[in-house]
Amino acid sequence: MSTETLSLSRAMNEGLRKAMENDPKVVVMGEDVGKLGGVFRVTDGLQKDFGENRVIDTPLAESGIVGTAIGLALRGYRPVCEIQFDGFVFPAFNQITSQLAKMRMRSLGTLELPVVIRIPFGGGIGAVEHHSESPEAYFTHTGGLRVVSCSNPSDAYTMIQQAISCPDPVIFFEPKRRYWDKAPVDFDLANAAPFEQAVVAREGTDATLLAYGPMVKTCLEAAQADEDRSIEVVDIRSLNPLDEATVLESVRKTGRCVVVHEAPVFSGYGAELAARITEKAFYHLEAPVLRVGGFSTPYPPSRLEDHYLPDLDRVLDAVDRTFAW
């Protein structure tokens, strides 16, 4: 049997388990990842099965989590760090951007840091401040880091294993509001898309929606809801490096494109996509690339998050505007 229906959280767990079975150098570390199994249960049962040496309940210190992971990696281990929530990655920002990202280049290629940093990200769960942010652009802006995000259980299962076996540092964004969504998971890695590849999640001919992580589902629902037009949805998956070919192929086909993410639009990842598409597919475009996302403000209190977060209506409103051009 090579498929089973699992929640995204459970699929992550199975992927981590597989990676730990396959490679004794894989260690999991983070706050509450041991006995509790992580606040989202992604590491549930791993400490019990692999021991405290391989699943470390760390001190409450994020700079320490990433800094020591770098040291472990220098010694031949493959640390998988969990940052409990998006808003708590910033104490580790120096270690990630100034240390982790640069060491291969600084060492003229002699040092390798196969560190994975898992970050549950995004809003929509009614949480208090610092628990709903989308900080991916800080990291895609930093050369030397790979940045990926999974949108469904099957990708969660395969991408975490690909991330762990990747020789580069990987920032792995997990769509926290989709943790409990269930879908069939294909356990055969041979069927998985390559790590760096974007995937057409839904085929269409009239417009392209580009998204990653939690917004893929929103875009699929929007595409489904639009009875008049045939909308293609591309799941970016790997934000850096970007699979430009898949993106451009879709946009050249449809001629219209809307980028959707939860992070603020201003200076966000969508700006990179829009600029790149404009540069490389200008004559195929029927309308400018539009962006739908968060506003240029701090993340609002949870009773306002439904306004802040792109939803089906806001996505379709943008699609309408590309057709009205």
């Binding site: 706050e31 041991g34 006995k35 409450l60 104490p91 506003f295 240029s296 403000t297 009773r303 802040y308």
Partner: protein, 372 residues
């Protein structure tokens, strides 16, 4: 000597000193002496502390109930930590400044913050409903440890103003591992800042017991940074009051920082989203129940004949009334207007924000047109 394979480090190599827990009131309600600390309280003052303790416990229970009913998104309960918060909170002068973490609802009470304003953040109608300057009670800080540096800088300001105020900052046992907290120890020592570090060691940082953070009792960390540390019975409101007062006075008189470790216990879950049965034993909870911070004051009041049944009934009735009032006013909290998203982001709204605000308002308006 046992060796913990997980950390590959020998444990038990650091000699435990005899427990130096400052206590003035035993769990049984007996007053005990301490060579360095004492409180001189009138019967009314003690009854006042009792009232505070009972009311904040009641407010906490109400907030928990509101969360279960879906009226709050989440709640961080103070259950078990009432004495630590009321004792330290009542040691403050009005002009002192307190920097809380996110569980200091008892200190908020002492700073006259309307409890419904504390609920706002947990209900998700705002990020903080009170004016920190008015109450000398800063915003709740959720990013662990960050506020310790703010408090240190604030204390440096007090120092430069040449006044006899002090700053106090609250944080947990887990927080002591954060870089910011350790930097604040370094800074406040180097600057001889008038600050009190009030660490509520409730034994747990979500699922992690103190052993994951420290090999030595937390109060002893202070010595290495060059200032005094003291461990106080965090369930003894008298001791917390006495120890905090003295530390504040030392700060005021130019003697610099003190670290207070209030030894207490988180009786509830970390927050309402947590399930502590996954990581801790019921027996531990039962043991701490015997050290309840309120029962011992009650026992003392009874034994010393300072209060009778009538008093206790009156306090219970008052607490109940405060609780129902809180519930009613919580339910009445209006949801913010959508455009509040753009409020107060800058001193003066810049054009881009103004455009976003206008665009979104007209977008929302388009739905009304459709439904009309």
């Amino acid at each position: 000597m046992t060796v913990d394979a997980a950390r590959g480090a020998p444990l038990g190599t650091v000699a435990e000193p005899p427990p130096e827990l400052v206590q003035l009131l035993t769990p049984e309600g007996e007053r005990v002496e301490h060579p360095d600390y004492d409180v001189d309280l009138t019967a009314d003052e003690i009854k006042g502390l009792y009232r505070d303790l009972v009311i904040v416990r009641r407010l906490d229970a109400e907030a928990l109930a509101l969360t279960r009913q879906g009226e709050l998104g989440v709640w961080a309960s103070l259950l078990g930590q009432e004495a630590a918060q009321i004792g330290s909170g009542r040691a403050l002068r009005p002009t002192d400044m307190a920097f809380p973490s996110y569980r200091e609802h008892g200190v908020a009470w002492c700073r006259d913050v309307d409890p419904v304003k504390v609920l706002g953040l947990f209900r998700g109608v705002n990020h903080a409903g009170w004016d920190p300057k008015e109450h000398r009670f800063h915003l709740y800080t959720i990013v662990i440890g960050s506020q310790t540096l703010h408090a240190t800088g604030y204390a440096m300001g007090i120092q430069r103003d040449g006044v006899e105020d002090a700053a106090i900052v609250y944080f947990g046992d887990g927080a002591t591992s954060e870089g910011d907290v350790n930097e604040s120890f370094v800074w406040s020592a180097a600057q001889n800042a008038p600050i009190v570090f009030f660490c509520q060691n409730n034994q747990w940082a979500i699922s992690e017991p103190l052993e994951r953070q420290s090999r030595i009792p937390l109060y002893r960390r202070a010595e290495g940074f060059g200032f005094p540390g003291v461990r106080v019975d965090g369930n003894d409101v008298f001791a917390c009051l006495a120890v905090t007062k003295k530390a504040l006075d030392n700060a005021r008189s130019g003697q610099g920082p003190t670290l207070i470790e209030a030894f207490t216990y988180r009786m509830g879950a970390h927050t309402t989203t947590d399930d502590p049965t996954r990581y801790r034993l019921q027996a531990e909870l039962e043991a701490w129940k015997l050290k309840d911070p309120i029962e011992r004051v009650k026992a003392y009041l009874v034994k010393s004949q300072m209060a009778d049944k009538e008093f206790f009934d009156a306090i219970d009735a008052e607490a109940k009334a405060v609780g129902s009032d809180l519930r009613r006013r919580c339910l009445e909290l209006p949801d913010p207007e959508a455009t509040a998203i753009w409020d107060n982001v800058y001193a003066t709204e810049h054009s881009l924000l103004a455009a976003e605000r206008a665009q979104f308002t007209s977008y929302l308006g388009s739905f009304e047109e459709v439904s009309r």
